[in-house]
Amino acid sequence: MSVLEVRNLSKRFGNLVAVRDISLSVASGELRAVIGPNGAGKTTFFNLISGFLAPSAGSILFDGRDVIAVPPHRRVGLGMARTFQITEIFPELTVFENIRIVTEVAAGYRLRPWLSAAEKAEVRRRIEETLPLAALSGKADRLVGELAHGDQRAAEIAMALALKPRLLLLDEPTAGMGDQETYEITQLIRRLHQDRKLTIVLIEHDMRVVFHLADRITVLDQGSFLAEGTPQEIAANEAVQTAYLGQAA
């Protein structure tokens, strides 16, 4: 069954059509990469799925439910978590506190003026469960704003994971990273996908990462659907080579 199903999605900004009539279906446990040259509409597409923008036309089904009218914070509650192209964290708080805020929100405690000892222990247990997923156990007491770029990205992914999502949306998880950091984040995403069977949709520029990780790839070009297939199919696709790989050469 598909976790995410997008049908004929479009977004216009005035005369500019940023996303034109895109459909795709992501199966449970799948890792889908969305690629395309700059200006292909990838981030707009993400913003539509997560509810940051309202589409001009089309529908988005999450677990079979139409979520077009659901505001972003409620989509999170349904199990849709995202990260951003530019890392979005709480920089002046520690890693532990960052994860704690998310964990408490996910547990439904966000309006609570106090927690019982049992609830506090449960929150702590969940935080300690989340930290190792992103290899952050040793850095729990560090301010997130003072971590290396790669660790900040990992912290952001850990925050998304603390929401216990059914669908994880990653917007360029390796943006601005060196080789070593890219490798580590790639391994992290791979573990989430293979060990935890998490359904993931990611936007990525680094082709090594995409071909290494993705089950299937969707290619966008100038806001439109260009191709979809396995990494092998996409690598062999002539239209993709002309529009994307050709342009890079």
Partner: protein
């Protein structure tokens, strides 16, 4: 106990000891008990404003409205309804807090300077009502004809009116209760969502926090605390005039919070100490005392953007 926790306990003990013994050590430096009460009341107001400004990241420039409503409602209750200090305070808190809750609901979609502008506008509406409606509020002359009443514990009474010392301790107990409530909220899951919104609103939204609802709750709580401080202010002076609603007083609260250090819980109290003591001292020397405070603010904002308390902290960790 870790070193950090140990230091925390020591600092807290020092703050409370200084407050508890203030009537005895202040005269050495030329202070007097009523000045101490004034510092506590205005400091509580600045901390109530900072609950919103420093911990949710939302700047209200009209918080005197809730302070003044609390003051008037307390005074009017004592004068016309029932001569009871606790009930006057309760009425002040409820009127200012509920008004803040209602108007806050109209505000929460505004951000930044727009939010600040609308809060000023609301504040000025109340100011002109108090100014014009002379038959009830006493207009420009202010509301007179009420006085704080003795606390009645049936076995014994405490006279708050004729003893500055008794009133100081009454204010200190009120202050302690409200400050404890604030501290508990800030350490709760809800308090952490406030800080999340301050740190990164977009991130908070995409973690599933309905931002507008949480800002509204924080605003409303802040208004209740503010109105309570306003009620105490009416008791302190046995008087209320339209200036307690004016935006210049809102500005004073912002100055106290920024000057003391708005990211720190106790910062605004320290700001209030400096502001009120300087005002008291300078206004006996010159009518232009505000220009001296102005210079001080400019210096602090330019050189110590985290406020006086922020500077002390920085020194210690450096």
């Amino acid at each position: 106990m870790t070193a950090g926790e140990y230091r925390r306990v020591v600092v807290l003990a020092a703050i409370w000891a200084a407050l508890i013994f203030a009537p005895y050590w202040m005269p050495v430096f030329g202070g007097y008990t009523a000045l101490g009460s004034r510092v506590l009341v205005l400091g509580l107001g600045a901390m109530a404003l900072n609950f919103l400004l420093g911990f949710t990241g939302v700047l209200s420039f009209g918080h005197a409205a809730w302070f003044g409503l609390g003051a008037y409602a307390c005074g009017l209750t004592l004068k016309f309804i029932i001569p009871s200090t606790p009930l006057g305070l309760l009425a002040g808190t409820l009127v200012g807090g509920v008004a803040g809750a209602l108007l806050g609901a109209l505000l929460v979609r505004r951000r930044g300077v727009y939010f600040a502008m609308v809060t000023i506008a609301f504040g000025q509406v109340f100011y002109y009502i108090a100014f014009q409606w002379s038959s009830v509020t006493g207009g420009d002359d202010g509301l007179r004809g009420f006085a704080r009443q003795p606390l009645d514990f049936s076995l014994f009474q405490i006279d708050l009116l004729h003893s500055d010392l008794a009133f100081y301790y009454f204010v200190l107990v009120c202050f302690a209760v409200v400050v404890a409530v604030m501290a508990l909220i800030l350490r709760s899951p809800f308090g952490r969502t406030m800080i999340a919104i301050r740190e990164n609103e977009r991130r908070a939204r995409f973690l599933g926090i309905p931002i507008e609802l949480h800002i509204w709750i924080a605003f409303t709580l802040s208004c209740f605390f503010m109105a309570f401080a306003g009620g105490l202010y009416a008791l302190l002076n046995n008087f209320a005039d339209p200036r307690v609603l004016h935006y210049s007083l809102s500005g004073d609260f912002v100055i106290m919070a920024v000057m003391g250090g708005m990211r720190m819980f106790w910062g605004p109290l320290l700001g209030a100490v400096v502001f009120v003591v300087l005002q008291d001292y300078l206004s006996s020397l010159t009518v232009n005392w505000m220009s001296f405070i102005g210079v001080l603010i400019v210096l602090i904002v330019l050189f110590f953007p985290r406020g006086i308390l922020g500077l002390i902290r920085q020194r210690r960790t450096a």
